[in-house]
Amino acid sequence: MSSNVAPVVTNFDHVSPIRPWQASVRDRLITTGIFLGSVAMSYLIIKLTGLSGKLGFFATFLSVFTTVNATRDYFRFGSASAKDSLVNTLVAAGAFITIVPISSILYTVISKGIKGIYPALFFRDMSLNAPNDPLNVGGLGHSIVGTLLLVSVALVFSVPIGILTALYLTEIKGRFSQPIRFLVQAMSGVPSIVAGLFIFSAILIPITKDNSSLLGSLSLTILMIPTVARTAEEVLNLIPNDLREAGIALGGTQWRTVAMIVVPAAKSGLITAIILGIARIAGETAPVLLLAGGGDKFNFNPTSGPMGSLPYYIWRSFGAGSPEAVTRAWTGLFVLLVIVFALFAVARFLGNRKVGK
């Protein structure tokens, strides 16, 4: 009786799920073949025609690879599939093109900038040296101090204004919310040189009549406010409304609710907003050149005297033109990049933490 029944499978070890969408070994071999074939073919084309260089090779390879793939798909599945594979390659190529310049920038800055790095660099200034001097004299300590001062004074102005703007947009939601969001967006597009000119016309010409890093900080404030405001707005929007309602329900006034509950809950996000703002202005060059004067020695007073800064150091070295000066410029860029990188990493780290803790 039981001999007619199919044996019941009790041991599932040998059963593996099938994945019909996954490429088989044969498919992969064919894809690799097409890839290698395209490489060889574009090499031939380059040899036969006038094209040359890495970029020429890339362009040729791209078109050959796309054409071969699309033709193959056309004969296998028809025109819809051919179009799909065409777009597939083009889209991936677009992403690749986006990556190329940034890798080139990183590679160039690191490989050229590292030559000029030595410990004393960070403690010396350029008061006795010209950018064309040998690399083992002088330093950029004064420019790091200058950049730190410029940024921290700018923070004093831009953080309160930026966060208040964000609070207005998220907590008060008043009549002006829409226009203000609009204006903040417009402000983020103000060219940096216009911000510099504004401070020049509004403060330097009528009042101080002289350069100082305070004025530079003021122009950087204008550039930093939109970044801080927009990021802070996004963060504050993530705070669940339950928290606000709980605060009000406990009898808190709106002021107490915002100050004791909403802002502490969004703390790490707000710090991220500030850090992104700093990254935005740390390398800003044009307004600093107009307003901070640009000094070659240590200056710890933001209100008077020419103030050096990393962008100014880079700019001056780049302008001097000799190989040593250019290496100095790359070294300055390297230091600036490391600062931006570090700020960015901290912002990422804080931003990835869960909001509301």
Binding site: L51, G53, L55, S81, K83, D84, L90, V91, G94, A95, I97, T98, I99, I102, S104, T108, V109, I161, I163, L164, L167, Y168, I172, G174, F176, I180, L183, Q185, M187, G189, V190, P191, S192, I193, V194, L197, F200, S201, A202, I205, I222, I225, A229, Q254, W255, R256, L276, R280, G283, T285, A286, P311, I314, W315, V326, L333, L336, L337, F344, R348
Partner: protein, 336 residues
């Protein structure tokens, strides 16, 4: 113990029971102050933009009055002095710089938008998760790079390959007037400035496009797949119609950024006061770099002219940014 206390409280009729708190919608004093301060902070962006306009207009007013419309239509920039150092005659015209700004920015957008849209599509619909995470970080980081970094990199690294591509374009498209170049010198051309501007705005356009694409309605995407659409057919039928105006808005935002760029353009472009429509020819202009170039040795009168130029640039970028914002916002209303 608590119970006993409670009982004694009940028995002790003379104990004061506080009057119930008044229930009112009238804001407290602290709230009034808070709302006032926050509103004042919120309005600061309006105040700052207004002040920028007012002060640049105030400082540049003399120039607008003496030059009139020729400030925008001529392309000379001369200041003549007599022996005593007084200004005898001056002539300021922005047209070459304005046209140069628009050419550079527009070419940059034409180069950047296809690449950015392709990248955004790749990140939204094609990339494996780890590639996506990595590339989003990289693109965000690129947006935070200082412009002087782009400028110096462009001068040393991009210029040679840019000139090579310019030569190639010139070789095959010489018959199109924009690509012609009699001088056969390809360095420092508006084309190379456009290339670096394109690289600088790719992160902005990419992140806006990605944001817009990610708002494409999931049910329609799945419906398209269920009807047997390939990935491209789905994108064409659902994502692109949904995201079009947002992408255009992102491109406009990039245009505004490219118009206002100073340092990166200054390092690569050969500034000449002549209108030049040939993008491969090494003569060009840009209002922002003009200001940086002339500022160092400018006389107080010339600084007024630079203020006027700054005002023109400010208004130009403001208009572009406003229209960009309108376009992106229009989509925001529709997508939800």
């Amino acid at each position: 113990m608590y119970k006993i206390q409670y009982m004694t409280l009940l028995e002790n009729k003379s104990a004061e029971i506080p009057a119930p708190r008044e229930i009112t919608t009238k804001p407290r004093v602290s709230d009034k102050i808070f709302r006032g301060v926050v509103t004042a902070g919120g309005l600061s962006s309006l105040v700052i933009l207004g002040l920028i306009f007012a002060f640049l207009l105030y400082q540049g007013f003399d120039i607008f009055r003496s030059q009139g419309l020729s400030f925008l239509t001529t392309s000379r920039w001369d200041v003549n002095f007599d022996e005593a150092g007084n200004i005898t005659s001056s002539d300021f015209g922005l047209s070459a710089m304005l046209i140069g700004t628009i050419i550079c920015a527009f070419t940059a957008v034409v180069i950047a938008v296809p690449i950015s849209v392709a990248t955004a599509l790749y990140l939204s619909f094609y990339a494996p998760p780890f590639v996506k995470k990595f590339m989003v970080t990289v693109v965000d980081l690129m947006a935070a790079f200082p412009s002087i970094l782009f400028g110096i990199w462009a001068y040393f690294v991009l210029m040679p390959s840019g000139a090579y591509w310019a030569k190639l374009l010139n070789k095959y498209f010489d018959f199109i007037p924009v690509f012609s170049n009699e001088q056969r010198v390809f360095d420092s051309s508006p084309f190379i400035a456009s290339l670096i501007l394109a690289i600088m705005i790719i992160p902005i356009v990419t992140s806006i496009s990605r944001e817009v694409f990610s708002q494409a309605p999931l049910d329609r995407i799945q419906a398209a797949y269920a009807l047997g659409a390939t990935r491209w057919a789905m994108i064409r039928a659902v994502v692109i119609p949904h995201g079009r105006s947002g992408v255009i808005g992102g491109a406009m935002l990039g245009l505004g950024r490219a118009m206002g760029e100073t340092v990166a353009v200054y390092t690569v472009l050969n500034l000449v006061f002549a209108i030049n429509w040939k993008i491969l020819f090494g003569v060009g202009g840009n209002v922002a770099s003009l200001i940086l170039l002339k500022f160092g040795e400018a006389t107080p009168y010339e600084i007024k002219a630079l203020m006027a130029a700054g005002l023109v640039l400010f208004v130009l970028t403001l208009i572009v940014n406003f229209s960009a914002d309108l376009l992106v916002r229009r989509l925001g209303g529709k997508g939800k």
